[in-house]
């Protein structure tokens, strides 16, 4: 490919959402123009993400240094299979969230700041997925954090403000861990570039081990790992539904991605020293998340706790430290983002049709809205991991690799947590869909909401297609994991 075009291909997934955020802020007074800019930006982002993925599929990885500076000073952007597939995921989720916002399905009122914040969030996430520089990674974390805080306070009610405060304090402490970790790694190696750090730490991993540990604690906070996840269940259910889908898909994935990247490519000799500990953290995350989900009655809070539990599976894949484990983690991250995103959108549709998110107040949807019931069942079973849906392939990859490496306890926990997942999905199914509505005179509100139904069903279609025809995704992620673990 042409050298100058490479630069543009790599940075386009950052520039498009940033430009869309700017343009939609300037047009905040005119909602229709703003919506058009938001949707157009998301479509353009998806296009540029696909172009990038094609370039990556052809070359393995593409890189560019901003400003034409040379190695130690340049801020490098590197797209490989892991980064490119997550960028495509971010684009799909952004488009879905903005599409969902088109009609008034979301029980939260619309705000003129929503579209700019969504695009800022996407820019931050894509930046984190594409950067090749440790400090730059920290900066994109902060971009995501600022956009998230903006989305959290959109509602302006007490619960939004309280939730945002919890989110702020815990997440800022997390990013400060990242910042100090980055500084210590720089002090020990003199480098911030991923490749340069990998070379510098190859010989003596024990020298940088404590610094990498500090860095990893920050990433674990961001990923929502046990026992550092308190910010997640405190805030997710206060968000407007499309923002919630975006958070569920990408919020924790940025931290997970950072762990995957640093473990596989930046500190390839240091990460194995921590993998046992990370494995137990993963087990703790899986178990606590699914138990929290069993307790709650609000659909969104059940699903939020499930997000924690599913992060555990991804961490387990990362903890294995092999290309197979990394592939499992990546596939699981993609699967979980799509399925959980669409489940949160379905939850908003349930709330709109039945009148509440609280399972104790609703029911009767299986006869009143059979298409919604079918959609929920499809996604819930995929989350549980029933073949041939996408969750099966994700779980299969992680659990198989765990067993191959002989970690029987971890694999058994993963399978047991799957059974508990089935329990809480059944709880939603029985209470919201199967049993009759508690109020006998209840009627679902009239009026069709095509855009939001298309958004939720579109995500479901993508995951189902992945489940039925996993070959291309598996091949691409296998390539990605191999490139990630190739020693430079």
């Amino acid at each position: 490919m042409n050298a100058d075009l490479t630069s543009l291909v790599v940075v386009a997934p950052l520039l498009v959402p940033l430009a869309a955020a700017v343009a939609s802020t300037v047009s905040a007074g005119r909602p229709r123009v703003q919506q058009a800019i938001g949707l157009g930006g998301a479509i353009l982002l998806l296009g540029s993400a696909l172009v990038l993925a094609r370039a990556v599929a052809a070359a393995g990885q593409v890189r560019t240094a901003l400003g034409g500076w040379d190695a130690p000073f340049a801020i490098e952007f590197v797209a490989d299979g892991v980064g490119a597939s997550l960028v495509v995921l971010a684009a799909v989720m952004g488009l879905t969230a903005l599409l969902f916002q088109q009609d008034d399905t979301d029980p939260a009122p619309a705000s003129p700041a929503f579209v700019p914040l969504v695009h800022a969030f996407l820019a931050g996430a894509c930046g984190a997925f594409l950067t090749g520089d440790l400090f730059n990674l920290y900066v994109w974390f902060e971009v995501v954090l600022i956009a998230s805080l903006g989305l959290l306070v959109l509602g302006k009610e007490r619960r939004h403000l309280d939730g945002a405060l919890t989110y702020f304090v815990l997440n800022v402490v997390g990013t400060l861990f990242v910042l100090v970790g980055v500084a210590l790694v720089y002090a020990a190696t003199g480098h911030l570039n991923y490749v340069a750090i990998a070379h510098a730490t190859m010989a003596d991993p024990y020298r940088v081990l404590p610094f990498v540990a500090v860095l990893s604690v920050g990433f674990l906070v961001k990923a929502g790992a046990f026992p550092l996840f308190a910010w997640l269940p405190a805030t997710y259910h206060t968000l407007p539904a499309p923002a919630l889908a975006l958070f569920a898909a990408l919020g924790t994935k940025v931290g997970v991605y950072a762990l995957l990247r640093t473990g596989g490519a930046v500190f390839p000799t240091v990460a194995p020293l921590m993998s046992d500990l990370l494995g137990w953290v993963a087990v703790g995350t899986m178990v606590t998340g699914v138990l929290g989900a069993a307790y709650h009655w609000d659909i969104r809070r059940i699903l939020a706790f499930h997000s924690i539990s599913q992060v555990g599976y991804i961490l387990l894949g990362i903890a294995l430290g092999t290309p197979g484990g990394a592939q499992g983690a990546l596939v699981f991250a993609l699967h979980h983002s799509l399925v959980k995103g669409s489940l949160f959108l379905i939850a908003a549709l349930v709330c709109r049709e039945a009148g509440s998110y609280d399972l104790r107040h609703i029911g009767g949807l299986s006869s009143a809205r059979p298409w919604l019931a079918a959609l929920f069942l499809l996604q819930a079973l995929s989350l549980v991991g029933i073949p041939p849906l996408s969750g099966f392939w994700a779980k299969f990859l992680v659990v198989r690799e765990t067993l191959v490496l002989g970690h029987v306890v971890w694999a058994a926990t993963a399978l047991a947590v799957g059974a508990l997942t089935l329990y809480s999905m059944l709880k939603i199914w029985l209470e919201a869909f199967w049993r009759a509505h508690p109020r006998e005179d209840w009627q679902p509100p009239p009026g069709a909401r095509p855009a939001s139904a298309i958004a939720a069903a579109g995500l479901a279609a993508v995951t189902t297609a992945f489940g039925l025809w996993p070959e291309p995704v598996l091949r691409f992620t296998f390539m990605a994991a191999t490139v990630l673990h190739t020693r430079p």
């Binding site: 400090f135 309280d162 702020f168 304090v169 402490v173 002090a187 009655w297």
Partner: protein
């Protein structure tokens, strides 16, 4: 020099952590920004502190003179300060808004996002009904 910086960073983080654990939300925000100040000191000292010459490239030269300070951590810490500053601004605005709504900033009362079980008048488990 490095000892003074290390002790200051430690003191900042310690006092920040003490404040961040406070029940008062305003104190917690101030505490978090103090921890941030400590983290910034760590970033600055990551590039070694012995050089005293400003990091300017002399007229006509194409690289830094020997003995000049390392400019990279300075760029990093400036970025970190700006980000920390804007986050602190946001958090202070948030806490002041909460104070205006609620009347005080005692965080034990700020449970609107996570009401305790049974606060909505419904039992946490259906069996409790019977």
């Amino acid at each position: 020099m490095i000892w003074a910086v290390a002790l200051s960073a430690g003191a900042l983080v310690a006092s920040g952590a003490y404040l961040a654990l406070s029940r008062d939300a305003l104190r917690a925000v101030v505490g978090v920004s103090l921890i941030g100040a400590g983290a910034n000191l760590v970033v600055l000292s990551a590039g070694r502190l012995d050089a005293v010459m400003p990091a300017f490239v002399p007229e006509g030269a194409s690289r830094l003179a020997d003995g000049a300070a390392n400019p990279l951590p300075q760029a990093l810490v400036l970025t970190a300060i700006v980000i920390g500053f804007s986050l602190t601004c946001f958090a202070l605005a948030l806490v002041m808004t909460i104070r205006q709504r609620v009347g005080d900033t005692d965080s034990t009362g700020l449970r609107a996002a996570e009401p305790p079980a049974g606060a909505d008048g419904l039992p946490a488990f259906p069996d409790d009904e019977r």
